[in-house]
Amino acid sequence: MEYFLSEQQKTLKGLARQIAEQRILPVRAELDEREEFPWDLIKEMASSDLLRVFIPEEYDGLGGGCFDLCLVVEELSRVCGGIAISYAASALGVLPLILYGNDAQKSKYLPAVASGSRLAAFAVTEATAGSDASAIRTSARRDGDHYVLNGTKQFITNGGEAEIYTVVVMTDAAKGSRGASALVVEKGTPGFTFGKKEKKMGIRSSATRELVFRDCRVPVENLISREGMGFIVAMRTLDRSRPGVGAQALGIAQGALEAAAEYAQQRVQFGHPISTIQAVQHMLANMATELEAARALVYATARTIDAGARSFTEESAMAKLFASDMAMRVTTDAVQILAGAGYMRDYPVEKMMRDAKITQIYEGTNQVIRNAIALEVLKRKAKQG
């Protein structure tokens, strides 16, 4: 479908595809196998200005919006969802700063992320708190002009590799989610260490680690917005980042559809390519149709956000939900079309199926995402009376 991208967006998409095909494609299987973080590729993306895309122009960025970021994430994910998420997680990590940071904080951290010399990460999840952000246990006690942090964050994408962490902590546990605050913590701060690196089902080239805080002293000027705003900061950040997860799902599904269509035309059974079998054709047709529907929703949501809509929690949640469920179905069907070959790690589709699964889980499981959508539907009905 023609989405009428601007000249700059076409250039951006083309460049992301060039990096994906020339640099990522030759190493994706090996990075997945070895669970190795792709620093060389991050540097390559940085020198091509891809890490500037999501940073405002006044902080050495290119001032791209949600849609520009989605286009890059989709193209990278078409080849490797794991590398794409390492890129997207840095955008997620600085989003709280872009949305709520003051000028001093932005000037201090954003140019380094734009140039690619430092990566960022966003940390909410803990052993007892995921969908339920009010259950956060990591505490930040005010002590003079510092906060003293204690606790452990879990499953943090870019953990250990990033230099800049936006962390949601409890400054007043008695207030529940209203007692949460967001802080910037730099790698190397005394008392801030990393726990084990997780072994994952998919997106295995990305780094996922625990962040461990033991009497870690963080200057008060690292507080993003005000005390008690942590939950709001986190929710608004996720509203903006969820279309990016949708874009990741689009890319993974696109890669799987292309691999399935190519294989179906090559694989000969009963004297003909299996693409001539109607059962296979209908699978391909459903995959392509669902993918395009998801793309239309993700793009429309990203454009809604960029156009300055005030509230987009529902749209953003729908884009993530629909695209990730689609990606799981499409990648599963791609494995089915490749059949025995599809199940083997010599072919790329089993990795795509493993990579797709996480899109249904992170930045809100698709179950809690449905709750958020239902809440908006019911609120609207209640208002209408």
């Binding site: 000249e7 700059q8 250039t11 060039q18 020198s47 091509s48 200005d49 891809l50 500037r52 895309v53």
Partner: protein
Amino acid sequence: MNVIVCIKQVPAKIKIEIDPKTGTLASGGVDRAINPPDLYALEEGIRIKERTKGKVTVLTIGPAKADESLREAIGYGADEAILLSDPAFEGSDTWATSHVLAKAIKKSGQFDLVLCGKQSIDGETGQVGPMLAEALGVPFVSLVNKIEELGQISIKVMRMSDEGHQLIEMMLPGVINVVKEINVPRIPSLRGLMVAKKAKVPVWNAQELGIDPAVVGSAGSPTRVAKVFFPQRPGKSEMLQGNPESQVDQLLEKLRQTKAI
């Protein structure tokens, strides 16, 4: 150091169609891109510029559409690009092409080094580099896989040949063509590509280059294509049967029969 890089726009697709009657490429409607071997020359030119604080000028001969490839070259990091375009250039062979390039290089001012790719992936002749050096009256080294030393008046390069490597010192100005072993071309930057979109890419025609239309294009090209055809491969293969010992005996017998041994 002033570096000139000569590029060619070629069909971008790997699966290209060949006209079965004439044996030539059916290039109509195909997406076009910078000739991949030229990207190594461009990358090397940009690296020299970065080391020496010099300038890279990219030249190509082609229709108006070739402007896209020149802008792409600016996106990679070239400073200037000039399109050499004139209906009179159509059908130029390597001789006429070299003539046009030489005129343009002389017109563009003082230069130290001209870089070309080893050959184009469509014509595959590899003749333009050496012919260009001849037309410019400067020395030439082919198949360079490494620039060992870059001096003010000379350059030391490693040349790959079938027999091994040759270390050659060449006086400047001069022309070299490079092989893919010389570097890994960078990916262009987004800001570079955005600058490239707005860059001025002048077009020089035959008149501006002071070229007599009779000496270029089909008319000025001495190359005559007698026939283009698909090669026939009448090769036969035979699988030897039996255990390894008997296969060795059979093989020796066949080699003796054919007087190979």
